[in-house]
Symmetry: C2
Subunit: 248 residues, 2 copies
């Protein structure tokens, strides 16, 4: 089974993205077996906390379905989301005993977990796992840096447009591709969560979403269901370069 170094998320084996992301055909079959042996699933409900910052964390894993957020909070309560975990994203850090961020499920979610110690052992003996994780981590780093530009230099309207673009893009590539025609998706975040991701207040988020709607850049059905008639218009609002350079 699994004889290609595939980057895609759900082909063949629908249950466990990490197998596609972290291992490849060059790994020995019995290493795959071992990975299989230390794997287990955890199920979370919307709103449930996966782990608190500072807590002991004895597993790593990846999101199978649903969405989680990575957030940091200051003593006075100011909150910044530092990552949005969509299906296939990796969670946890080999070589560190405690969690650095709060991880919260924002929708019902399933994670595929590996006990950390055996996973680290395995990583030690299976070079391509570390190489695969390195690529994934570099991608996350690029995404984080992309987000630094959003947080530091973009206006509220541009921030909203950037966030919607990212969600639309991820949604489109995970499900039925095509960013050419109209794109439709459900917002997996509350206005407050969007605000925490964008470094804004929830009122500002609400106002800017309304403004984008009024200007015809997006269509709203209810509060969460969004249609983007023309993605290029949205990307223009986001202030991005016209190429498809955006990550996440």
């Amino acid at each position: 089974m699994l004889k290609e170094d595939s980057l895609s998320v759900t082909q063949d084996c629908g249950d466990c993205p990490i197998r596609h992301r972290a291992v490849c055909a060059r790994c020995e079959t019995d290493e795959l077996e071992r990975l299989e042996n230390i794997k287990y699933y955890r199920r979370f409900e919307a709103g449930q906390t996966v782990i608190w910052s500072g807590d002991r964390m004895d597993f790593v894993g990846s999101v199978v379905s649903g969405i989680a957020t990575l957030t940091q909070t200051m003593e006075d309560g100011r909150t910044q989301m530092v990552g949005l975990l969509l299906p296939s994203d990796f969670v946890g850090r080999p070589g560190r005993p405690t969690a650095a961020y709060d991880v919260v499920a924002t929708t019902d979610m399933v994670m595929c977990c590996f006990r950390k110690a055996p996973f680290e052992d395995l990583m030690e003996r299976t070079p391509h796992i570390a190489q695969r994780l390195l690529q994934m981590t570099l991608d996350e780093l690029d995404a984080a840096r992309e987000w630094m530009l959003v947080l530091g230099r973009k206006t509220a309207r541009e921030k909203i447009a950037s966030l919607l673009s990212i969600i639309a893009r991820r949604d489109a590539t995970l499900n039925l591709g095509g960013l050419d025609g109209p794109v439709t998706f459900d917002l997996p975040l509350t206005r407050e969560a969007m605000a925490d991701y964008l470094g804004l207040t929830l009122e500002t988020v609400s106002r800017q979403v309304s403004a984008l709607k009024k200007d015809g850049i997006i269509q709203l059905e209810g509060k969460r269901h969004i249609t983007v008639p023309d993605m290029t218009l949205l990307l223009e609002e986001a202030g991005d370069d016209t190429d498809g350079g955006m990550l996440v």
Copy 2:
């Protein structure tokens, strides 16, 4: 030579941090030799551009001395610094042909470079290099996420204090330790570069630096030489948790 898996930067072999960072005693000696063979040095003057975003990049490397910045620029000129490269920091991305950011030397700088293709070959055959790079990249990712909190949720004054803390800390650990007594260092950045890092204007940076000086949190000698009489006061201004959790 080099018989420990050392994380420190300049012991034993003063000329090339990457040897300490990316390799370790478990690697074969002849792999070390090969690493040695594909290595070369490049020297940059203050203000010189190492590479432009989008350009072909056929090397990876690390900073030996001096400081460089990683920046992103929007079409209209808005600029966000997404990384500060201090001695021992790694530059470049194995597995990607072009640079994703502008890299500019802000002081005279020396880099130790490796041609990318041979380096990737070597990485393929020497597992601990990928493992080492993974750890370094995870550290960078944490630093980027820490910075997202700064950009998204901190006030101008807190931003300045955060930046000064990071520079003071890096300076202290690279040179003569001790964050207990007063800490003295030279700012390696112009007010404009600080602004680009913090998502502010240079005028605001100037005002807030003056304010911190007036309040006795820092002392200024000339425009660039800074003394922090009491680091705990500065960290308080930065709004950080009291523990030493800050990264970079």
